[in-house]
Amino acid sequence: MDGFMMDIIKGMCIMDNDGNRILAKYYDKNILSTLKEQKAFEKNLFNKTHRSNTEIIMLDGLTCVYKSNVDLFFYVMGNAYENELILLSVLNCLYDSISLILKKNVEKRLVLENLEIIMLAFDEICDGGIILDADPSSVVKRVDLRNEDIPIAEQTVAQVLQSAREQLKWSILK
């Protein structure tokens, strides 16, 4: 058992539907410490998981829970003896936080467009292997700090239209 009993998360990772890493963090110096090992592991993991959506797999001595949506795959890794349900709770937090940040449109394009916020979310969920927060709403509250009203001059045409459409929709719904 780990010295602290707190270093539960060995890694978190987001991949696209070709198995390319979008974001990945490994927290244990002794596990997958080199880039080469990490890439090999990710490739293997992706090959084993992208076709079957079955939530959990044991690979190279790590328990990996995963989830996919449209063109993204989310993974949380812990050691083979870890309580799988704890890992699952962290995975759910990661996914739900991103879903909240992206207003339910969890797809690669939007993840990349909001990468800075996603990076902050990663950092708020897990600090060096310790679960920092597992409640999506509180994670999002801490990271989604973007100023909602962008000066109109800096908005793109599409954004103006989009916001106009939204406002119209709400006014009709009322």
Partner: protein, 877 residues
């Protein structure tokens, strides 16, 4: 609609992603933008994100680049943009390990950490701790204490988690924060509770009483965080295991009642943790286990894959310790065999195989065969391993299992999968005499159509070893000779060697073999021709002792050490002949059977090295060690102190032809002492001469260091069995526990009594394994060999198996022909074993045992050295 915000340049690129084709140098160039005033927050955020993205993709920044980037980043503290500031913190954390002079941002971070903006504070603390070292910690200690008890949960969490990180480097400072952590425990926020428990436990974990107080208090109160409860369960288990409470008392202990009560918790995570904990406890009785198993059984039927996985993995792990209880879940496990999650299915099968009764083997195998074609190779390997374990358990079922395996062998599959099947069949053949014939014929059929060279070679080797002693050896010749005609040179060479084995061991077949070998001399490959000529030459000589030495019993040297010995020989004077008998034999390494969680892994296994090879590399660094010659054997380590004393010492004996090197691994467990000139003083028994003492110059706290003593054996082997008194001597200097620096130059001499050391017969003997003991034994009935014989009554043992085990242990020999296993229900048994005494003296032992009141033993020892033969007979008495 912030989520739809895009950068200008990105718009031009259309929908492609802004992070494709990033160039490290050009991105780093862009950091110049950071110097502009006023700071353009959005642009800078984007650049920072690109840098972090590159690092995350594995791009490596050298110290210079990282430092430049880091200093450019410090300019961004001017901006008040929240996201930008937070990205700067992330950047600081990422770069702190590569860049230099990172402490420059300490004051900025300290300001943010103590400031009013809550959105900064928590993240600033974590960034600060990533750049803080031991010396600077004193300066921020006051703030850290305040933050731990801060009303804002995020700030408190950040401070607690950072303290845990710091505890590994600055444990003594963090220890002083226990009161604050205690206060944080009372927080309403569940994460604060969890992190506070983590920190408190870490601070107190070396103090058993304090931990037990902490746990007792918390088990009564109600922790709200499920994570904290899970952790508390783990701590409680640790306490229970350490106390080693017997089952009857355990049921009433408050710790156990707490874990038991967690089975009714509202969070599944906690319920599972508790069930998992209970089934893994050492001292339990069925009544205590049953609720936990009911929970696991319930989880087996859950619609969530993770729950099913968790349950079946736990059942798999305890299948060996609580077979009866696991059997109650068999129905549920059988339902999981066809689970859509292959990890779950495989764990279910292997669990069933582990617990399966002898009668259900057939049914299970039928079930497995229905889906084995569908699963991936790795899972098949796991299934094969489980079958292997089953074979060992029910030897009588070998026909069913062997047929199943050979069926699997015929299917498509990769090398790893095929290797595991062949390994299993070989294991069965080696351990079960009845299965030998059928196993060999399955393997013969397999090599007829085998694309893997390594497997074909292994099987041919096995055929050569086992085939000559089968009922009809001639039937294997056809299979082997087919290889000579059809295969690649490597396989052909192996086949030639196998043929020669038959020629040497079956006189009836010799004439035919000579013809076949003659044909092999025409082979286009050099190696094959050479081997054929070599064997023909020996077989034509018609001298049984040549057969024995050069065909049947080939020297099984440790290759690494043989290489070393040869290169030493080449570097020395080339006057004398190279003597292969002094190279240590490759120790017979038994592969460890992993009965633990059946792991599915694709990582290559590390090559096995024997203890001798390991120590040869280590000892080679000692000055003057070459004079002693090559190493003969290294013993496994022996503790010379109780564990948890001031100093712990363990000893490994390295035996050479005429010398013994004692290696003492010393550990100083006192943090306020610094030891110098550490050495072990041995009281030598008569006959032994001290040759050298190699002290260890410095032994700081908690570092394993080694000192050696070299002693020469007495000239006559009979007085080599002796006991050594041992004392650890050293110079003590008091030191500061925090820095490890000695307080003064002055130290004083001190000593510490160690337990006595022994040199036994077994220490001096390296096991060997004879493929054909009888041939070796008969060949030893000649002039050069000497024999000693004696009869003993062993009163201490009551059955034959115990007697056999004792003899093999005392003598340290390797048993041949599976004679170390006593068949059940017999009164007479013969053990055949062999070994090499130091100096390369061969030893053969035949021990006849008879069970009457006690066990009567008739021991015959044959050796090339009279002293050694007598020594061995004396060792039993």
């Amino acid at each position: 609609m912030g989520s739809f915000r895009r950068d200008k340049d990105e718009e031009e690129d259309g929908p492609t992603n802004a992070y494709q084709n990033l160039e490290k140098t050009s991105v780093l160039q862009e950091t110049r933008t950071f110097n502009e005033t006023p700071v353009n927050a959005r642009k800078c955020i984007h650049i920072l994100t690109k840098i972090l993205y590159l690092i995350n993709q594995g791009e490596v920044l050298v110290a210079r680049e990282a430092t430049d980037c880091f200093f450019a980043m410090t300019k961004l503290f001017q901006s008040k943009d929240v996201v930008l500031r937070r990205m700067v913190y992330l950047g600081i954390k990422e770069l702190s390990s590569i860049a230099e002079d990172v402490i420059i941002v300490t004051s900025s971070l300290t300001k943010d950490m103590t400031g009013k903006e809550d959105l900064y504070r928590a993240a600033a603390i974590r960034a600060l701790c990533s750049i803080t070292d031991h010396t600077m910690l004193q300066a921020v200690e006051r703030y850290m204490k305040q933050c731990i008890v801060d009303k804002n949960a995020a700030v408190s969490c950040a401070a607690l988690v950072s303290s845990l990180r710091l505890a590994s480097t600055a444990g003594d400072v963090v220890k002083r924060w226990a009161n604050e952590a205690q206060e944080a425990m009372n927080s309403d926020n569940i994460m604060v509770q969890y992190h506070a428990l983590g920190l408190l436990y870490h601070i107190r974990k070396s103090d058993r009483l304090a931990v037990s107080k902490l746990v007792n208090k918390l088990t009564r109160g109600s922790l709200k965080s499920p994570y904290a409860v899970c952790m508390l369960i783990r701590i409680a288990c640790k306490l229970i295991e350490e106390e080693d409470v017997p089952a009857e008392e355990l049921a009433d202990s408050p710790l156990y009642s707490f874990i038991e009560s967690c089975l009714r918790h509202k969070s599944e995570m906690v319920i599972y943790e508790a069930a998992h904990a209970i089934v893994n406890l050492k001292n339990t009785n069925p009544r205590m286990l049953s609720p936990a198993f009911s929970i696991l059984q319930l989880f087996c039927g859950s619609p969530k894959a993770t729950l099913r996985f968790a349950a079946v993995r736990t059942l798999n792990k305890v299948a060996m310790t609580h077979p009866a209880a696991v059997t109650t879940c068999n129905l549920d496990l059988e339902g999981l065999i066809t689970d859509s999650n292959r990890s779950v299915a495989t764990l279910a099968i292997t669990t069933l195989l582990k617990t399966g009764a002898e009668s259900s083997v057939e049914r299970l195998m039928k079930q497995i065969s229905t889906f084995v074609a569908e699963i991936s190779d790795e899972f098949k390997v796991v299934v094969v391993q489980a079958i292997c374990a089953l074979c060992a358990k029910y030897p009588r079922k070998h026909t069913v299992l062997m047929n199943f395996l050979s069926g699997m062998l015929r299917e498509e599959g990769g090398l790893e999968y095929k290797t595991s099947i062949v390994d299993t069949i070989i294991t069965i053949i080696e351990e079960n005499v009845d299965a030998k014939e059928s196993g060999l014929s399955h393997l013969c059929e397999f090599i007829e159509d085998c694309e893997h060279v390594s497997l074909a070679v292994r099987i041919l080797h096995l055929l050569g070893k086992e085939g000559p002693f089968a009922a009809t050896p001639s039937k294997y010749i056809r299979f082997i000779y087919n290889r000579v005609i059809l295969e690649s040179p490597i396989v052909r060479a192996a086949a030639v060697t196998a043929l020669a084995q038959f020629g040497a061991s079956c006189p009836a077949l010799l004439a035919n073999i000579l013809v076949l070998l003659g044909r092999c001399q025409m082979d286009p490959d050099d190696e094959v021709r050479d081997r054929a000529t070599y064997y023909l030459c020996i077989l034509n000589s018609a001298k049984p002792e040549l057969y024995k030495n050069y065909i049947i019993e080939r020297e099984n040297c440790s290759l690494a050490l043989l290489e070393k010995a040869l290169s030493d020989h080449l570097n020395g004077d080339l006057e004398s002949h190279f003597d292969i008998s002094i190279v240590p034999k490759a120790a017979i390494v038994k592969p460890e059977i992993n009965n633990d969680v059946m792991m599915v892994t694709s990582a290559p296994r590390a090559p096995k090295i024997t203890r001798e090879e390991e120590s040869a590399a280590r000892l080679a660094q000692l000055p003057g060690i070459q004079v002693l010659g090559p190493i003969h054997r290294s013993t496994s380590p022996i503790q010379l102190t109780e564990s948890e004393t001031e100093y712990t010492v363990q000893c490994i004996k390295h035996i050479f032809a005429q010398h013994v090197v004692f290696q003492f691994d010393c550990l100083n467990t006192l943090s306020d002492q610094f030891l110098e000139n550490v050495r072990v003083d041995l009281t030598l028994p008569e006959g032994y001469t001290a040759r050298a003492v190699i002290p260890c110059p410095k032994l700081p706290y908690n570092e394993l260091q080694t000192t050696f003593v070299i002693v020469e054996f007495p000239p006559d082997a009979s007085s080599s069995i002796a006991t050594f008194g041992a004392t650890l001597r050293f110079v003590v200097k008091d030191c500061d526990p925090n820095t490890g620096e000695p307080d003064s130059e002055e130290g004083y001499d001190d000593e510490y009594m160690l337990e006595d050391l022994e040199i036994t017969v077994a220490d001096q003997i390296q096991k060997t394994k004879k493929n054909n003991f009888q041939v070796a034994w008969d060949a030893a009935d000649s002039e050069e060999w000497l024999q000693a014989e004696d009869t003993f009554v062993l009163s201490a043992v009551s059955n034959l198996q115990d007697a056999v085990n004792t003899i093999i242990k005392i003598l340290g020999l390797g048993a041949a022909n599976l004679s170390e296993k006593v068949p059940e229900g017999t009164h007479l048994h013969t053990v055949l074993c062999s070994g090499a005494f130091r100096g390369g003296v061969e030893v053969l032992v035949r021990a006849k045992l008879a069970l009457s009141e006690g066990v009567t033993l008739n021991l015959t020892v044959r050796s090339t050295d009279q002293d050694v033969a007598e020594l061995i007979t004396a060792a039993i008495g």
